[in-house]
Symmetry: C2
DNA sequence: CCAGATGCTGAACGAGTGTTTAACCGAGGT
DNA sequence: ACCTCGGTTAAACACTCGTTCAGCATCTGG
């Protein structure tokens, strides 16, 4: 079985990601990935014994990157603002695609649930710490964890609706978030 | 082409819905649906010229039911509480499955986007009206539309995470909602 | 220089898919 | 009695799919 860092192996993972993004997970198959890599179909199964293994490897790689990103992004000033950019970042589209995949591939479901769990707890920890450090006071009854779940949910849904071409009432929702951010952290520091 | 209300036709639609719920949209196929209905595969294509047509018919039927449900449910007392039950109702799992389907069936995508649009506007209208009628005052900057989008988003995400076996921080989020409801509408009227 | 591991291929198997076509069955109306 | 017509069928077409297996290169270490 191929080495962890084989050039071909990484190429196959890249193609898998790209296909999922551009055409949905259903476009990913042994033959299709092989064709895009200009390689024989059997080679894909040489690196990943089954198609599930390919998906799992792609998920794990992505999950690690995302987890690292949380601490890096949330570390700047204005953690609330950073949380919002993190939650509404288009890069999460891939996670959404994995979520859809998980609906009918139980091997994926378990792994994705575990990742989502770690991801959320990492965010809670980082956000709680940063809020204390920057001295931001949340309104009564709104804990960092709740704010996080709400923000993640809103960001994800807006993205999902966007990709299917629906934007009804999105501006109002985004304006509300902007307003909230301004109230608790002042104007965006990256505005000129 | 079969009559709109043929017994067989409705049976096929029922089976399609059930399969989507229990095994995901990928389980729906001409042959599979036929087998469950104890009928020849070609008959499915007799009623729905293509598989896309079957999905579309199922979507349309469901969409109409949901749309009717909005007014019916939101019409009681405590519209905010009703909005929350509507948003976190497990019946929405099917819509989520349709959303996943829409990711790689463009014929579905357009129809679903249109439905989601109508659905949201119907909710905004009903909620706005009911809030005025019951005299509930929302906090500053929180319009009915924004509250609606937030509630829908949270409900959907909690459901999606639930079905994949992840519940991290859900209790806190739900408790927050309960708290909010109690503050603006008092205790649940259906509690003994 | 040879053995053996590593990377890679072509061909096949078995099963699944959506869709089309021609034909059959059983009632209802004329 | 005939004929039409909606509902229904079996069979075939033309794919695509995941997976397996035997074997061919190429490179490396002893």
């Amino acid at each position: 079985m191929g080495a962890e860092n084989s050039k071909t192996r990484l190429l196959l993972l890249d193609i898998t990601e790209r296909l999922m993004l551009e055409e949905g997970y259903a476009a990913v198959g042994v033959r299709r990935v092989a064709r895009e890599a200009e390689v024989a179909p059997a080679l894909v199964l040489y690196y990943f014994r089954t198609l599930d293994d390919l998906f799992l490897a792609a998920l794990r790689r992505r999950a690690d990157q995302e987890l690292a990103r949380v601490d890096r992004v949330l570390d700047g000033p204005q953690p609330l603002r950073m949380l919002w950019t993190l939650s509404s970042h288009p890069g999460n589209t891939l996670t959404t695609e994995f979520a859809a995949l998980a609906n009918h591939r139980k091997a994926i479901r378990a792994e994705l649930a575990a990742h989502a769990d770690r991801y959320r707890e990492a965010q809670v920890a980082a956000l709680t710490r940063r809020l204390a450090e920057t001295g931001v006071e949340l309104p009564d009854g709104l804990s960092p964890a709740v704010l996080l779940v709400l923000t993640n949910a809103l960001g994800r849904i807006l993205m999902m609706e966007n990709t299917m071409g629906m934007t009804t009432r999105h501006e109002e929702a985004v304006a509300f978030v902007e307003d909230f951010l301004k109230r608790y952290e002042g104007a965006s520091a990256s505005d000129a």
